[in-house]
Amino acid sequence: EPKTNLLHQWATGSDAAAIAKLGEMFAAAGGTWEQTSIAGHTANTLAKLRADVVAGNAPPAVQLKGPEIAEWNATGMTANLDEVATAGNWESVVAPELLPVMKPAGSWVAVPMNIHRVNWMWSSPKAMEAAGVEAVPATWEEFNAACEKVVAAGLTCVAHGSFDWTDATTFDSIVYGMDIDLYRAAFVEGDAEAIRSQGMIDAFAQFRRVVDWMDPGMPGRPWEEAMAMMTNGEAAFFFMGDWAIGTLNAAGLQEGTDYVCTQAPVDWGGNGYILNADSVVFFAQDDADYAEGSTLLANTIMSPEFQTIFNQAKGSIPARMDVDMSQGFNPCQVKSQQDLAAAIEAETLVRSMAHNMTVPQSQRGAMMEVITEFVNSDMSPEDAANMMADAVEMN
């Protein structure tokens, strides 16, 4: 009898509801469902995972992402899902950018649950109209010009709630939008030279301008509140990933009238996509029941039904490229799927540093420290670039 216990951090509200659905489907497929949901700081989840591993009691399935999958894979404790993967033909349906993440050493050890787009910019039609901004800015230059107008109209240009991860989310979009190669070298490869380069200094300079357009109340403000500033017209723009859609839907707001979703500005004129994906890693189990459960859970997660239900709640899009999104998805989600395909086509798809999809946690942590310090102080772009490079070299 298949059993599982999923360790995850979707502890409250709609997240919890989505996971509850997974449980139902797992149970319906004949499994015994258990979950350990740990709220708050990711450190809590990781602490729990480490404690369990140290205690010789690794959990069967854990919500983990990006490079962490590789790190845990390297410990040799993960399960091998190749058989299920072949049977389910995952190789061909999963977005290609996710494949190196899910099989870091060549074998499948994890399954993706969704694809989040990080580089969304949410704009307020009301505010733009009030400030006389006709079109949503597509490049950073246009963005700067638009902001001048917004500020002149007495509104806040950029709605923001400052935490290390929201600051980094915004910076992800800026670096990516200004120089996609720099993004790859600095944030995907973790190359200190690239971080020290003039390009990064320019990016920080642009970031400084963006930060200056934020209102002083932003430190520690929950992002929902910041988003509300945008939707009610107090602020013009808001940088946030597509998980915002869940909240927007819940508040009954409509795309087009209450808000507009576009990709964050890019200076190189193409179609960009910064990707973030939640995934579940499986650890090898001695107990046959749990091993069987892992297979079942992996299959359940990969099933189009779950991918649909889960992502409709979360605002993201299915990790499978073959899911029909014509029904029950927000227009922005539909757009997300189209842009993803286009980005793959144009080879502009990247994974998100801010959301822990590229460099190891130690490097990402160091980068985020510099970014959030930069936002909350008057550090110069040069210093910021140097500090970040030093930190990356050290870790």
Binding site: H8, A11, T12, G13, A16, A20, G40, A47, R50, N57
Partner: protein, 300 residues
């Protein structure tokens, strides 16, 4: 034992002329009220917002006269709020907390009493060192002990069990309970124990018949201290318990950290208060014994 902390026979402000007396008392009460407002502010705000509608909060913020009052948040917090993967409100976690806190409190208090009794009345060579050593446990930061504990629990087969948490809280608590009890018992006159020994009573009989009956003040202190400490801990709960076996505080940790989902402030407020009720009640009813016992035990 004289109720030294609760009464004071001499009132220095009641000297001199009547006008002076009235003036100084008025000042005292004014200041007391001012401070009370500061201390009550957080709980007051939470309480207020737990009765408000969500849109109302969204419109006017947390500091506002509510437009309507509703019990819905409380109902939701109790029955349907999704927490730690279950959508049954905070009830299931309550039980976990009780199952964890009550035994851990009892066991650590019992050991504390015995240790305190030995370390104050049956001293032997080196017993002062034992005391100092046990007390050091008070100072270890919890973050540091997480991984060692994981080894211990793993080897003892107690991972993800309530018993594991009970073990942790008991061992951690020993330092405090031993400290409190020892410092309390050293105030019991030696003569009492000597008299009992001459009367032919041994170690256990003296403990049961003489020392225990004198212990209620310190038992109250250690029980309050331990219970609230254990109830309020979230770190061990998060790391060493799983799913619906988590204690309430660990389940509620979501409320303080930014989550990527819609916040129901009013339900959170209600849940927050509900989670705080047991320790609050304990302080409310045991507070005066706590203060009294603390001064007999903690400060020496």
């Amino acid at each position: 034992m004289a109720d030294a902390t609760l009464v004071r026979d001499f009132d220095p402000l009641a000297t001199g002329s009547a006008a002076r007396r009235v003036r100084s008392k008025a000042l005292v009460y004014a200041l007391l009220t001012l401070f009370a407002a500061f201390y009550l502010l957080p709980i007051g705000i939470v309480l207020l917002n737990s009765f408000r509608e969500l849109p109302d909060i969204a419109r006017t913020g947390f500091f506002a006269v509510p437009e309507t009052l509703t019990l819905q948040p409380w109902r939701e917090a109790l029955t349907s709020f999704c927490l730690a993967g279950a959508c049954e409100g905070i009830r299931p976690f309550y039980l976990n907390s009780i199952l964890m806190a009550v035994p851990a409190t009892i066991i650590s208090t019992a050991f504390g009493l015995l240790n305190g009794y030995i370390l104050s009345m049956w001293r032997f060579r080196g017993s002062e060192w034992v005391f100092g050593f046990v007390t050091l446990g008070v100072f270890l930061p919890a973050q540091m002990t997480l991984l060692p504990w994981a080894y211990v629990l793993g080897n003892a087969g107690l991972t993800n069990t309530i018993w594991g948490l009970i073990l942790i809280h008991t061992v951690q608590g020993l330092a405090f309970t031993t400290l409190f009890c020892r410092n309390y018992f050293v105030n019991i006159p030696d003569d009492l124990i000597k008299a009992a020994r001459i009367d032919g009573a041994g170690f256990w009989r003296i403990f049961r018949k003489i020392v225990l009956p004198l212990s209620p003040p310190i038992v109250i202190v250690t029980v309050i201290w331990q219970f609230t400490g254990i109830w309020n801990d979230f770190l061990y709960g998060v790391v060493f318990s799983s799913g619906d076996r988590q204690p309430i505080t660990s389940a509620l940790i979501a409320l303080t950290a930014g989550a990527t989902s819609v916040r129901h402030h009013n339900v959170e407020a209600a849940a927050t208060i509900l989670a705080a009720i047991p320790p609050l009640l304990i302080y409310l009813f045991g507070g005066k014994y706590f203060v009294r016992g603390l001064t007999q035990g903690a400060v020496k």
